[in-house]
């Protein structure tokens, strides 16, 4: 896979929500993302060169939100509909990052999302 720096097309948050039966926990500043980076390891996420990403993770700590902020992510999708504490939502609000949840595990969420990013 190319770890390209080329600008990718925009995928609407609304389309993502319907693809993964998602819920919106907080609606941020941007209503689109350009790519998905998925990892349970935040240092891994920090190596990405992609811009305006959706960060997909099964972790629900405040550091997931901070990591998203550091790489300039537009949105975060949390797998397994794991419960999220109020301060994590508050941090997403403070940093203006959309926070979504899905009932699916990470792998299945990736599968459901891929047509949006790879199809034309």
């Amino acid at each position: 896979m190319e770890r390209g720096v080329s600008m990718k097309k925009q995928v609407r948050i609304d389309d993502i929500v319907s693809a993964v039966d998602g819920v919106i926990l907080f609606k941020g500043e941007n209503d689109y993302v350009r790519w998905v980076v998925s990892s349970g390891l935040m240092s891994d996420v920090l190596t990405t060169e992609e811009e305006e990403i959706l960060l997909l993770s099964s972790l629900t700590t405040a550091q997931v939100v901070r990591t998203a902020d550091m790489v300039g992510a537009n949105a975060i999708l949390l797998a397994y509909n794991k419960p999220v504490t109020d301060d994590v939502i508050a941090l997403a609000r403070e940093l203006g990052i959309t926070l979504l949840g899905t009932p699916y595990p990470v792998f299945e969420a990736c599968h459901l999302l891929s047509p949006l990013f790879f199809g034309d």
Binding site: V5, G40, L41, M42, S43, D44, L46, T47, S57, L59, T61, A62, Q63, V64, R66, T67, D69, M70, V71, G72, D87, L95
Partner: protein, 312 residues
């Protein structure tokens, strides 16, 4: 009545500047209680006695409209009962020669009053001579503790300075506490904010953010705590993470991808895969690490503000 046992002011004379500033900054109105019961001058001492009993208070200001004209204390009530004039009006027996504070006075002034007189509380009036509240020693203590906590919190979390010899240089220092996973990242957020304000190139901003964040997380999870310092120069940003130990035996080893001493707890939080320092090194234009076992580690990352050539 003058206080025969004033507090020694010796300790106050040696007060640190920050504490002194807090005390001087606070005014009587910041500490006083404003929701105060008061009597009218036409009220009888019996009515005031009941008011004291029901509300468990030991002193009542007497007002004429909004103006403070006297005070009735428990002592006055005892005298009234003793000498049989409890049904008299307050204005006849109230203490008129009052020592009052003004709401705009500094709190230090009030403290000196408590020291000078035996009264445990003073009525407070405003510029228009209207009664506005009561100040007790307890209120002074509460206000000062509250303000000091606020100040120390602010000092602990952020120390900013501009070096006199380097007027174009801004230095920000943040304290990072051991295992404070909740707040790790707040310093990097401040860095990102400042670089954004300075309209720094997007890629440079991202590299600086990643370096600062990895180093901040490192100090929180691997060390006994320390500081992260950002030095902003015209052409570069220098990030220095300095901790108080335990120190690293082999600094070459820790810069290899995958080398990690992290435990399960850290891994469960999404860190500790041995990527932190290699990541920092990757985004830095200049990277150095020095460490002494038992003393601490200092990691320095320099990022030039002119975008790095991406041809590599």
């Amino acid at each position: 009545m003058p206080n025969r046992f004033p507090i020694s002011t010796e300790a106050v004379d040696k007060t640190p500047v920050a504490t002194m500033e807090i005390i001087l900054r606070l005014k009587v109105k910041d500490a006083m209680v404003t929701n105060v019961l008061a009597a009218k001058k036409s009220d009888t001492l019996r009515e005031i006695q009941m008011m004291m009993k029901e509300n468990e208070i030991s002193g009542v200001p007497v007002l004429d409209e909004n103006r403070l004209v006297g005070m009735i204390s428990v002592n006055d009530i005892i005298n009234a009962l003793d000498r049989n004039y409890i049904h008299d009006k307050a204005e006849k027996h109230m203490v008129r020669n009052l020592i009052v504070l003004e709401d705009d006075m500094p709190l230090t002034f009030a403290v000196s009053y408590f020291n000078k007189y035996t009264y445990r509380r003073f009525p407070v009036i405003n510029k228009e001579k209207e009664f506005v509240g009561i100040l007790s020693t307890k209120d002074v203590l509460a206000a000062m503790l509250f303000e000091m906590n606020k100040e120390i919190n602010a000092l602990e979390s952020r120390l900013t300075s501009v070096r006199a010899d380097m007027p174009n240089q801004i230095v920000q220092e943040f304290v990072i506490k051991r295992f404070d996973f909740e707040n790790a990242g707040t310093a990097s957020f401040q860095l990102k904010k400042l670089l954004k304000e300075k309209s720094v190139d997007r890629k440079v901003l991202r590299r600086a953010s990643v370096a600062a964040y990895e180093l901040e997380i490192n100090v929180a999870i691997h060390t006994f705590g320390g500081t992260i310092t950002f030095i902003f120069d015209k052409d570069r940003i220098t990030i220095i993470a300095k901790d108080n130990g335990p120190g690293i035996l082999n600094v070459d080893e820790v810069c290899e991808e995958g080398f990690s001493t992290a435990n399960e707890w850290i891994r469960s939080l999404g860190f500790g895969a041995g990527m932190g320092l290699p990541n920092t090194k990757r985004v830095s234009d200049d990277f150095s690490i020095t460490s002494q076992v038992g003393v601490g580690t200092t990691v320095t990352s320099v990022i030039f503000l002119e975008a790095k050539d991406e041809s590599e």
